[in-house]
């Protein structure tokens, strides 16, 4: 008898838990994201606080590494246990999810609140809109198009600060002679790819880049300018220290912060590392958008809301989406994150000199640049990155061989 009871009990136990969690499901939201560093945690907690002020419960599922976090989200959607909200990048990463009907349309709240009127720049609407309906909430803008410069190192080396990658190559030998590492790089494929894109777009300009990445225009690719870019990229190699392979981006930034290296080409999230070290923009360090034409790239993050079999969840999701675009929440969040907000009517008085450059630039529509992953699948961008990374690491990989391989990716239909 005792045994029977215990068996019955063990059978009932899971049921009792499910009923409890259902009862406690009032405005309960689980959010998967990959913001785990100090500044990033501070930023996501602004969302959590705002959500809790609305009477909700925030279940934070932070997973280190964007790849891992996105993988978890997709696995849980396929496994039938989707989170309430999940982070992706402003890119094509989640297109498949939309096409397979896995994401909740946010059109109800988007049209009610007039998202199309205030989301800026309009390219962000393009990213989130599929067949006339909103499927994601852009929350911030990060631009990759920056050179981070240690002023003191340039003074000690006695050379002027560069405005373009080419100017940097001209002065770099002197920096090397002065005993500094001219260029700090983390030798991971995404960082090598980022640096290549900055070299390419600052040399060729955005319209030409769009021909490559958006139109897959082989003629534009073969017009002789790309070889030049690859050569410039290779020239940079001799100014990078040999410890680069596998280095993390923030370790490379730290080399610039500490004055071991003169410069790093990295997105504007590097600013956080300078801020944490107590360095002041334009005084201790400088930020330069390379090239004659200045661009601000539309990188950044979005949140998507996977469909849930429980109809109550939809209500919660729409409320959360509305919370994320709220101007006050946007101001708090982006000031903590150091990124640009996705609307113009946000208080950005806390912005430092570098962030202000980005804010000024983003208001000129012609300065807005789209990137490889805005137009292409992760399969395409990573195949492209593979070649760039191999080209940087293998001195025997000739420019013409790399051109052939890049063209193969361009025409692969990935």
């Amino acid at each position: 008898m005792k045994k029977l009871i215990s068996i019955l009990f063990s059978l009932l136990l899971p049921l009792s838990f499910t009923s409890v969690s259902k009862a406690g499901g009032h405005m309960e939201a689980e959010v998967i994201h990959w913001w785990v560093s100090g500044g990033e945690q501070a930023a996501i907690s602004k969302f959590a606080e705002a959500w809790e002020d609305m009477g909700g419960t925030w279940i934070d599922t932070a997973i280190t590494g964007g790849d891992n976090a996105r993988g978890t989200t997709v696995n849980r959607i396929i496994g039938g246990n989707p989170p309430t909200a999940a982070q992706f990048n402003i890119s094509k990463q989640f297109v498949d999810l939309v096409e397979q009907g896995q994401l909740q349309s946010l059109e109800e709240v988007a049209s009610a609140e007039g998202w199309r009127d205030f989301i800026y720049p309009p390219e962000l609407i393009e990213t989130c809109e599929f067949e006339g309906e909103f499927y994601c909430v852009p929350v911030n803008i990060h631009s990759a198009q920056w050179m981070w410069i240690n002023n003191e190192v340039f003074e000690k080396a006695g050379v002027p600060k560069p405005n373009t990658v080419q100017e940097f190559i001209a002065v770099a030998p002197k920096i090397q002679e002065a005993g500094f590492i001219p260029l700090a790089l983390g030798g991971q494929p995404w960082q090598e790819g980022l640096m290549f894109d900055v070299v390419a777009s600052s040399t060729l300009g955005f319209p030409h880049m769009a021909k490559l990445y958006r139109d897959k225009d082989v003629e534009a690719f073969r017009d002789g300018k790309m070889e030049m870019v690859l050569q410039t990229y290779r020239d940079l190699n001799s100014f990078i220290d040999e410890g680069a392979p596998g280095r993390l981006w923030n370790d490379a930034t730290a080399m610039v912060v500490e004055g071991k290296a003169a410069m790093q080409i990295m997105g504007d999230w590097a600013r956080g590392e300078f801020a944490v070290a107590g360095k002041e923009a334009k005084v201790d360090y400088d930020c330069v958008i390379p090239g004659k034409e200045k661009y601000v790239a539309l990188g950044g993050d979005v949140f998507v809301f996977p469909k849930n079999s429980d109809p109550k969840v939809k209500e919660i999701q729409l409320k959360m989406a509305s919370m994320m675009v709220n101007p006050t929440v946007q101001a708090n969040f982006n000031n903590a994150k150091g990124s640009l907000p996705m609307r113009l009517d946000v208080d950005t008085s806390a912005a430092d000199a570098c962030m202000q450059m980005g804010l000024d630039l983003i208001q000129q529509p012609s300065a807005i640049m789209r990137e490889n992953d805005d137009w292409n699948s992760p399969a395409f961008t990573s195949a492209w990155e593979d070649i760039i990374s191999e080209f940087r690491n293998d001195p025997n990989y000739s420019v013409s061989a790399a051109m052939d391989d890049l063209e193969a990716v361009l025409t692969s239909g990935l």
Binding site: P189, P378, S382, L414
Partner: protein
Amino acid sequence: MQSLTRNLASKIALLPMIIISLTVFVGCIIYSFVYSLTGSKLIPALNYVGFKQYEMLFKSRKWDVAVENIFIYGFVFTIGCLVIGFLLAVLIDQKIRGESLFRTIFLYPYAMSFVVTGLVWKWVLNPTFGFEHSMHLWGFEWFKLDWLVNRELAIYAVCIAAVWQGAGFVMVLMLAGLRGIDDDIWKSLSIEGVPKWKSYLFVILPMIRPMVVTSIVLIAAGVVKVYDLILALTSGGPGFATTTPAMYVMENFFSRANLGQAFAASIIMFISVVCILAPWAYYEFYFRNKEAKA
């Protein structure tokens, strides 16, 4: 019919295992193959593209490098572990003082996870702050140890870390074998005046053959599985010089959202393992049976 009811109880007992093998292993292999013929991206989808994924796989420079690496790694790691493990066992077998201390030291790396091993060696071999840097600070400016960042040598750096971890384990197995050798054999060998190295190589080594075979099997299983060590040590870099087939599959599965390609690569991995195992299985189950009957 009779053969079906023979040992019925044990057959019933094996049923869950049979069902699991069929559904999980065979089922998943079939599933993987079917989806390797599709253009699945982030989510499995049945949009057939024929053998295009395989075509892309074999054209990929990265896959070529990965396959080459697994052979280099397999060869160096297996031989390295066996040779060093055996030598360590022989040295310890000399009835030295503090034997248990050395045994612990040599076996200790095996107690660490591959991730820890990878990180430790990543720091040791890093030219800007690792061993090379220390040597420079001590005044040996000419010293160079850039294996980890040299794309030709990086895979051997991985092998060093792996051998460092695996050799101790082989040592313990071999030592157990050596301790099982009867003292009389040693006595007769010394009466015959056989030099020590010759007795180890030609008499003792064949006698501990079961230990050698066990070591090889365990090491070989580790070769196919290698993933975490490389991820921690080089993340497949510099460039993709140290990538392996398993990493290629994982990458396409998760970060690249290219499921079709990942399935195709895993099917090829599966086929290669079968190609290596089939002759052995044939020998074990067919040839041996024949031998036993004859």
